[in-house]
Symmetry: C2
Subunit: 317 residues, 2 copies
């Protein structure tokens, strides 16, 4: 572990709250790229590693970045894999955002000064990070290649997600070679198995593993996702999860809270809804039928591309 | 002139209201780059050309892009050299922003979908557009080089502005070669002379030639700039300009309105203030003394880097 000392001239690089593999590896890789370009940059994480990310770092022999919970007002920060304040470090509006690399829609971000912003509509932040290396004529270090490869496989569910672009496929081919990963399919399956090995993780942790809060018009919704090769395990704990969802909805004053259980291998999404009101919204927005708190969302497996835009459009009506 | 026909599958590319040379040439060059990359893109302008830009296009033998005043809701647009709705096409919030290339701070822009955003903290949009060509391994066409060269010279006042970066200087060296412009200094002086040849332009037009509206906290201010090699001419028309400013302030419901007269060659800024309240703000924010409606802002010649940030900080107190 790197020391947690805070250096005021430093730029803190971090991905979103409830980090996934892309958020963690992007912080590591972008901080390294910025350092190679002469900036004093340090990677951080805004939450606990999920099992997939822990597997990726362990296999790569890389320590997790330090946990970051706050920064002094005015600190320089580089955001990766997110840009909305609701998904970022508390107090983001008082920080000095100097860099952003992201592949999500642009939300409520503002900068006080001209900044370096790079958004491309691709499946993964790592795909953009690879471009930044190539554009700067900087050779990709094998360790960074391995981290970026893992991120693309994770975010695109090894090309199963509709967010996948040609650039993501090309990135995987290039990065696998640099990283020396011979069997990409086997590596992706090992990542997904690690992610699905949820053991006795508390239900409240499962809910928050890949969880984001979105403003939909005047409403505030939480949308969690569990991507798994073993949905039966998750639905075996549905009662516990429902209780955790009801508690979270109350504590955080949400108007809606849903948890999409995505079967990675079969590419289906069965979403646990907290109550009647969420079932009604999903019924109208997706024509989804809800039975026993589970709404069948068919093959809509991408929160970013298929779930959130539809809910946004629904609440904008 | 290209035909003004509107094609629903087309992406409209445009710079800010009250366009300057960077806004106009960036629309032309980025539209051409997007077309070379397979997108159906058309350049537009959101207002009349200033004398400098008219000179640049005339010398290059290029027609001005069509004037655009509105687009159907949901139309795809690419913004260059701006991102804030107050400086853009009316109704921007209802349009589909798919691309942005800009060198200003990020303001109130949001996108409904992941988009292609490229912001770099350099002196000119053209410097970023040159990078986009080089990164895409696309040769820069000589006409585009001439337009981009003109934009960098204009935005940086041929490197006099503190917004100038090493990348802008390198861009000028590269672009002058591709464009076949041998004597860059002579070309820049000819541009600035054309800009300063204001003839019998109405005072209301002079005020709006390079004019932007900014939200400062709860207030709304207009900040105009006249960059000229002949400030004596402008101050010879101070009474007319003041009358135009007072009228504009009332009509547009502004809280403040100032007009910076920048002496390009001597690098000084004497700013005409509409009234007492503006004089008081400039006095506190810049320690500037105002005599007969003219505040001496010394060598602060950059609205973006020196005027607006200081006013923003002042109103944020």
């Amino acid at each position: 572990m790197r020391g947690p000392r805070y250096n005021p001239g430093m730029t803190a690089v971090f991905g979103h709250l409830n980090p996934d593999t892309d958020a963690i590896t992007a912080a590591l890789v972008y901080a390294n790229l910025l350092r190679r370009q002469g900036l004093d940059a340090t990677p951080y994480r805004l939450g606990e590693l999920n099992f997939e990310t822990a597997f990726v770092l362990r296999e790569a022999g890389v320590d997790a970045p330090e946990l970051l919970t706050s920064l002094p007002e005015g600190s320089a920060v580089a955001l990766v894999d997110h840009n909305e304040s609701a998904q970022s470090l508390p107090g983001l509006k008082g920080l000095n955002v100097t860099h952003v690399v992201d592949h999500h829609r642009l939300g409520d971000l503002e900068t006080t000064q001209p900044a370096t912003l790079r958004f491309d509509p691709v499946g993964c932040t790592a795909t953009i990070l690879l471009r930044l290396h190539l554009e700067a004529n900087l050779p990709v270090e094998p360790l960074d290649a391995r981290l970026m490869l893992s991120a693309v496989l994770s975010d695109t569910l090894h090309f199963r997600s509709p967010t996948t672009t040609a650039a993501d496929r090309e990135a995987v081919a290039f990065l696998a070679q640099v990283a020396g990963v011979q069997d990409v399919t086997a590596y992706a399956l090992a990542m997904f198995a690690a992610k699905s090995d949820l053991g006795d993780t508390p239900a409240s942790t499962l809910l928050k593993m890949d969880y984001k809060v979105f403003p939909f018009g005047a409403q505030k919704w939480g949308v969690g996702v569990i991507e798994t090769t073993n949905p039966a395990y998750v639905f075996g704990r549905q009662a516990e999860l429902l209780a955790a969802m009801q508690a979270e909805k109350g504590v955080s004053g949400l108007d809606g809270l849903v948890l999409s259980v995505v079967d990675i291998l079969n590419e289906t999404n069965r979403t646990i809804v907290t109550g009647e009101s969420e079932a009604a919204v999903l019924g109208e927005a997706f024509a989804a039928v809800t039975v026993d708190h589970v709404a069948d969302l068919g093959d809509r497996i991408s929160r970013k591309k298929q779930i959130v835009p539809t809910l946004e459009a629904y609440f904008a009506r």
